[in-house]
Symmetry: C2
Subunit: 121 residues, 2 copies
DNA sequence: CCCTTATTCAACCATGAGGTTGCATAAGGG
DNA sequence: CCCTTATGCAACCTCATGGTTGAATAAGGG
């Protein structure tokens, strides 16, 4: 998982981790607090938090034996930026008929006949 | 992968698939066209497209032997909505000192001595 | 009909992710 | 000091994922 975007999307591709993010949005919490609602072991939750931390979605302080987790906002911007770029592109070509033109975008396909795309009804 | 959000995030947690999305934002394309730039086999790309299709990020028509892929916009809204909710929450608590208050969020316990959290410096 | 092109399906392999348990470490509190 | 609490690390298991190759299907074209 070289790049950050991959790490972030992968981190959020798990219901438990998304739930943790949701709960951290309501305030910081310790590993044990976070683990309580789930059936899985505390260690498993600890692993999940490590994933979130590595992805930069979560940071942690020290408070005696506890390691309270804090939701970080910056990374969300990274995702939003990526998504918005393609969402806009997809919406534009959805509203117009660009989709049809796009069929012959890559190569003019000299002999194949460029207008065969019109058959797509 | 029960829910859609999981499928979408998982689909985008792969550089190749994100690249495919990026290229489809520039216009529809066939499997072969999409596969060309990569070293991996056409079959592998076909698999990637199936993942994107299952996640609802891509749809496909039929055009003779070809199956042109088309980027779908709706799913992006789903993601954006999810992200925005928590981004806002994270930013709010970042700007204020809510993080400190959050330490005692789970149990209000007003008599336990609320100022022990002040030790977290 | 057979051949070519485009795409998928099936079987297989290697790796990584999420889960478990058991032990180690950190930090107070009798 | 030992005990309890909170957390992390390591070894292990299982299954999903991404890749491969080889054959099958779909759709034209000579």
């Amino acid at each position: 998982m070289t790049d950050r975007l991959t790490a972030v999307f992968a981190a959020l591709a798990d219901p438990v981790r998304r739930d943790i993010v949701a709960r951290l949005a309501g305030g910081d919490a310790t590993v044990n607090e976070l683990a309580k609602p789930y059936q899985i072991s505390v260690q498993a939750v600890s692993k999940h938090l490590k994933v979130l931390e590595t992805a930069g979605l979560v940071s942690r302080r020290r408070d005696a034996q506890r390691r309270p987790c804090h939701l970080e906002a910056e990374v969300f911007d990274l995702m939003t930026k990526w998504i918005e770029r393609y969402r806009r592109a997809a919406e534009e070509r959805h509203s117009r008929l660009d989709a049809v033109l796009a069929c012959m975008h890559t190569e003019p396909s000299p002999n194949t006949g460029p207008d065969h795309t019109g058959a797509a009804s």
